[in-house]
């Protein structure tokens, strides 16, 4: 009897799967999304059909996808990992040549019923392919330089494509997700120490190159960094987003101005009020308590994922679970830092809450993998 067969024997079947389903995680996801519906209703000034309703429909779709995926054995996804990655890569190439341009960057493909952002899909696909690689790779070889090359190549190709769009935020998130999976897979500390120094060097180079002939970033990106460091010196121009969102956050106080009572978001002072900056409306209307509640829900989601992963002896399942939860973490950490003026404005949505199709569907699919890994973990 192979180890594979032995694993299969222990797995829950039929109704047992429903019992093994991670209900707590599902409820937390529904809670976070519900906060999103409320906020979308509020920023649309009480117009449910504008954002809240389409978001609910998409969430229902996403939840169905997640549940279906949960009942499919995790090894099926493991076997599909590389194909999913290839598919996402092809889409990224397609968007490069045929994608629609939005705000100066090419990010999505119009499918008619929704706009597909291949870069969002790639976040999960990259986690899957790296988890697959490390679950396949012999443990002894993990830190060998030669075996480090494939995951780096797998990461750098989509990163390069995303940077070309150009979408700095997603590129950084892709890289962070990949680094986390490699770290969890047991790649030697030395590589991370070296990598960190290299990044520090690169940051120095980026700033040093400004104004030189070999300038590394675009002017608007430097401007965003400069604005991030001191938004007050350009309050109506580059610093407008951050200043306005800080005003909204600050004016919320401890318990907020009350549902539908916020002025900043409803009166359009906030940019992207229904997408990237939706957290500010939450903080304005429900104050610190509202913001902290969402943060707590996010924390619990991450903790449950980690708890599920550490008790999972299936290497692929554990790595995918941690990778998805890390990606999820990066989403909200970067978004919240951004709206609170702690990070540059890079265009990352607040997961499960911001209005948007691709990110929500892909994220729920990711949680489908987590659920599947949880249900089908070896006992």
């Amino acid at each position: 009897m192979s180890s594979y067969d032995r694993q299969m024997e222990d797995l829950p079947t039929g109704f047992g799967k429903v019992l093994a389903y991670h209900w707590a995680l599902t409820l937390l996801i529904i809670a976070a999304s519900s906060i999103g519906f409320l906020m979308l209703f509020s920023v649309a000034d009480g117009d449910i059909s504008r954002w809240a309703q389409p978001q609910m429909i998409r969430f229902a779709l996403g939840l169905t996808v997640m549940t279906i995926m949960a009942f499919i054995p995790i090894h099926t996804f493991r076997n599909l990992s590389f194909f999913v990655y290839l598919f996402a890569l092809v889409l990224l190439v397609v968007v490069e040549f045929a994608g629609n341009s939005s705000k100066g960057s090419q990010r999505w493909i119009d499918l008619g019923f929704m706009r597909l952002q291949p870069s969002e899909l790639m976040k999960i696909a990259l986690v899957m392919v790296l988890a697959f690689y490390y679950s396949w790779l012999d443990r002894d070889r993990v830190s060998k330089p030669l075996w480090l090359l494939p995951p780096l190549i797998l990461t750098l190709i989509p990163m390069a494509l995303v940077l070309r769009q150009p979408d700095l935020g997603t590129a950084v998130l892709l890289f962070a997700g990949a680094v986390v999976v490699m770290f969890l897979a047991g790649v030697s500390w030395w590589y991370f120490a070296t990598g960190a120094s290299a990044v520090a060097g690169l940051v120095f180079a980026v700033f040093y190159s400004k104004g030189q002939s070999w300038q590394l970033l675009k002017d608007y990106q430097y401007k965003r960094i400069a604005t991030f460091l001191d938004p007050s010196n350009d309050p109506l121009g580059a610093g407008y987003h951050i200043t306005q969102s800080k005003i909204a956050l600050g004016s919320g106080g401890l318990s907020g101005r009350g549902f539908m009572q916020g002025t900043q978001g409803r009166l359009n002072f906030l940019p992207e009020k229904h997408t990237d900056f939706i957290f500010t409306t939450l903080a304005e209307e429900f104050g610190f308590i509202g913001g902290a509640t969402l943060l707590l829900i996010y924390l619990l989601i991450v903790v449950f994922c980690v708890a599920s992963a550490v008790s999972n002896t299936n290497r692929y399942g554990a790595l995918v679970t941690l990778g998805v939860s890390a990606t999820f973490f990066f989403y909200f950490a970067v978004n919240m830092s951004m709206v609170m003026g702690m990070a540059p404005v890079v265009g990352v949505p607040l997961p499960l809450v911001s209005y948007g199709g691709s990110a929500m569907l892909v994220l729920l699919a990711g949680f489908g993998l987590v659920q599947s890994a949880h249900i089908h973990r070896p006992r």
Binding site: A248, S251, A318
Partner: protein, 641 residues
């Protein structure tokens, strides 16, 4: 087998690293929570205030500009409703179709339509775009009646400045125009109204000088807006305070008569009440239509005005300065009399020229006047007599007398570009010209040539001061709102009344004497006799050669080389009421070109005065006993010989 081996190691290692990662994540989340608390709880007050400022926008309600009346209560400047048609893109839905429908009701050209569509495309969908302005009421009513089939179209009532008298008051009242960046940089005024786009402020004349009184105070409307400035609702509204109305001292009828009389010339007329200093007419020709400036003058119109040789834009009454010529002789005569260097009977012999210090100075009459006394010298405008007495009295005393009579000083009228003119002194020549004063300069000054310069206003003031013996100051505004502007300078001049009487007698002879230079412009009506003085000031130098072969006559010279014609006068001689000064640029001789104009304007004022017409309603008649005014039927100016 591999799985079995791995089983011992794998869970341990993965969980250690997973917990490290979780630790970092929780730490970061703690940081986020801390930041949230910091922003949300600790700095709430400050951010609430900022949010409030963001939300509430103050909108200024422009006040109605003060009206301007003449002394009779006629409107000179008012505000006319301006009907505009606006379109709002997001309400119109199909803008092109709506515009086509609209063009069936009011005329809109294809070009205009294209421009409106272009403007709309550039702006946010709820910003109103003006389709057309200056519609009449019937057109607006037609549009309003068709409103249901024209979504997004709305008629707007605004106000623009209108000058019903158009040309008559252009130089006095001036005009308004939209405030420009240049204005903002120039004016020290922090009135927020100035920052309203296209807010109209005075650009010339009284509109500029009385801007502060005319403008009024802005009302304030507090409105809630969103980030892009769209109005959500009005919170409260404080009404604006309209500007003050002004009443001028100018009499529209006399002003019209004066302007009409000089309309073909480049000329100026100032008519003044000698008792109160009220300026009854202040005409500068050619005039222009100030209404053209209000909505923005076209390039071709501007070019026409700006390149016209007759300078219609200049207010020649206060901004034009000319050598006063022989009209200056009263100043020289009074200076000499006051200094005691001559007396009334002293005779000077005129042979047509006088040779002094190696130079020859000519009298206008080639053959000379023979024995000349003071009154005769004025009557016949003998130059040699004044060379002699100017030399005796000296330039300092002449200029001092000139300033006493209102020349060479800036009179405070609410008009822009008031020129000071020039009464030269030795000191002045040394500092400005860098040369010493020579006796020839004094002789030239004696006949009002050389450096001396005076504006028509100053000459009228001079005539008024000689007529009354008071230091009367001009007055152009009668009331500002409810406030009556005081009469200034109504105090006796420090001049011997006998000397003044003598000079006045000379001026009487100029007009009424059989050999007077202005005898052709005599007013024959009893009790209205005019006293005046002609002046012809050279704008070129007459060479020796030309003098030998005979001075070229004015009509044979190009226009801009001809002499300026001047005339100053007051009337009636024995009970002075009005003073007048006329200058016709390059008009030739003062007696022929200027005196008849002065006579006609003076007569118009006197005849009007007779019917009890033309006095300020708010002021009592200052002069004359009503019984003394015998009803007469005066001759029309042009019927006279």
């Amino acid at each position: 087998m591999r799985w079995a081996n791995d089983k011992k190691l794998k869970p341990k290692k993965l969980s250690r690293r997973a917990f490290i990662m979780l630790g970092m994540q929780v730490g970061l989340m703690g940081l986020l929570g801390f930041r949230m608390r910091q922003l949300g709880v600790e700095q709430t007050k400050q951010f609430r205030l900022l949010a409030e400022e963001n939300r509430i926008n103050l909108q200024l309600v422009p006040p109605a500009r003060g009206l301007i009346y003449d002394r009779l209560g006629n409107i000179v400047a008012n505000n006319t409703p301006l009907y505009r048609i606006q379109i709002v893109r997001e309400q119109a839905i199909n803008s092109t179709q709506v515009l086509r429908k609209l063009s069936d009701i009011i005329p809109i050209s294809e070009d205009e339509m294209a421009q409106v569509l272009d403007n709309m495309a550039k702006r946010r969908p709820w910003v109103p775009v003006t389709i057309t302005e200056n519609l009449d009421w019937a057109q607006v009513a037609a549009v309003a009646a068709n409103a249901p089939s024209l979504p997004g179209i709305s008629p707007i009532v605004g106000a623009y400045r209108n000058y019903p008298k158009a040309e008559e008051f252009c130089h006095i009242v001036g005009y308004v125009g939209p405030v420009s960046d240049y204005d903002l940089s120039k004016i020290e005024d922090d009135d927020p109204l100035l920052h309203i786009p296209r807010f109209q402020i005075g650009k010339n004349g009284i509109e500029t000088r009385a801007e502060h009184a005319l403008r009024g105070k802005a009302g304030i409307k507090r409105i809630e807006v969103n980030a892009v400035g769209r109005v959500m609702r009005e919170i409260d509204n404080k009404a604006s305070e309209p500007g003050k109305n002004l009443q001028l001292t100018v009499d529209t009828e006399l002003q019209s008569a004066a302007l009409e009389r000089i309309s073909d010339e480049s000329a100026a007329v100032v008519l003044m009440d000698v008792q109160s200093g009220d300026i009854l007419a202040l005409a500068s020709a050619p005039a222009f239509d100030p209404n053209k400036f209000v909505t923005g003058i076209s390039v071709s119109d501007w070019k026409d005005l700006n390149e016209n040789e007759y300078r219609p834009l200049a207010n020649k009454t206060v901004s034009g300065t000319y050598p006063p010529g022989s009209t200056f002789k009263m100043v020289v005569a009074l200076a000499a009399l006051e200094a005691g260097v001559i007396d009334a009977n002293e005779q000077v012999r005129c042979t047509g020229s006088v040779k002094l210090f190696g130079s020859k100075f000519h009298c206008w009459r080639r053959g000379g006047h023979g024995q000349v006394s003071l009154v005769r010298s004025l009557r016949e405008s003998c130059d040699v007599y004044f060379y002699e007495i100017a030399q005796r009295v000296g330039i300092e005393k002449i200029s001092e007398m000139a300033r006493k009579l209102g020349l060479g000083i800036r009179h405070d009228l609410p008009l822009p570009a008031i020129r000071k003119g020039l009464t030269p002194t030795k000191e002045w020549k040394r500092t400005v010209k860098g040369a010493d004063w020579v006796i020839g300069d004094t002789l030239n000054a004696g006949i009002g040539q050389g450096f001396t310069l005076a504006s028509p206003l100053q000459l009228a003031i001079m005539a008024a001061r000689i007529a009354t013996g008071t230091a009367i100051d001009p007055r152009l505004i009668n009331t500002v709102g409810e406030d009556l502007m005081p009469v200034k300078g109504n105090t006796p001049l420090d001049i011997n009344p006998e000397h003044l009487a003598l000079v006045r007698r000379g001026m009487f002879e100029v007009v009424n004497g059989a050999r007077g230079t202005a005898r052709g412009s005599k007013i024959t009506t009893k009790g209205m006799e005019m006293a005046g003085k002609t002046g012809t000031s050279q704008v070129r130098r007459i060479t020796k050669k030309e003098r030998a072969s005979g001075v070229i006559r004015n009509k044979d010279l190009p226009w801009n080389r001809r002499d300026h014609a001047l005339f100053v006068a007051f009337a009636p001689y024995d009970n002075p009421k009005y003073a007048v000064a006329v200058i016709v640029e390059h008009g030739g001789g003062g007696s022929k070109a200027a005196a008849p104009i002065a006579r006609d304007v003076m007569l118009a004022a006197l005849e009007k005065d007779d019917t009890g017409y033309g006095k300020l309603p708010s002021q009592k008649r200052r002069t004359g006993d009503p019984d003394e005014q015998t009803p007469q039927t005066p001759l029309k100016p042009r019927d006279r010989a």
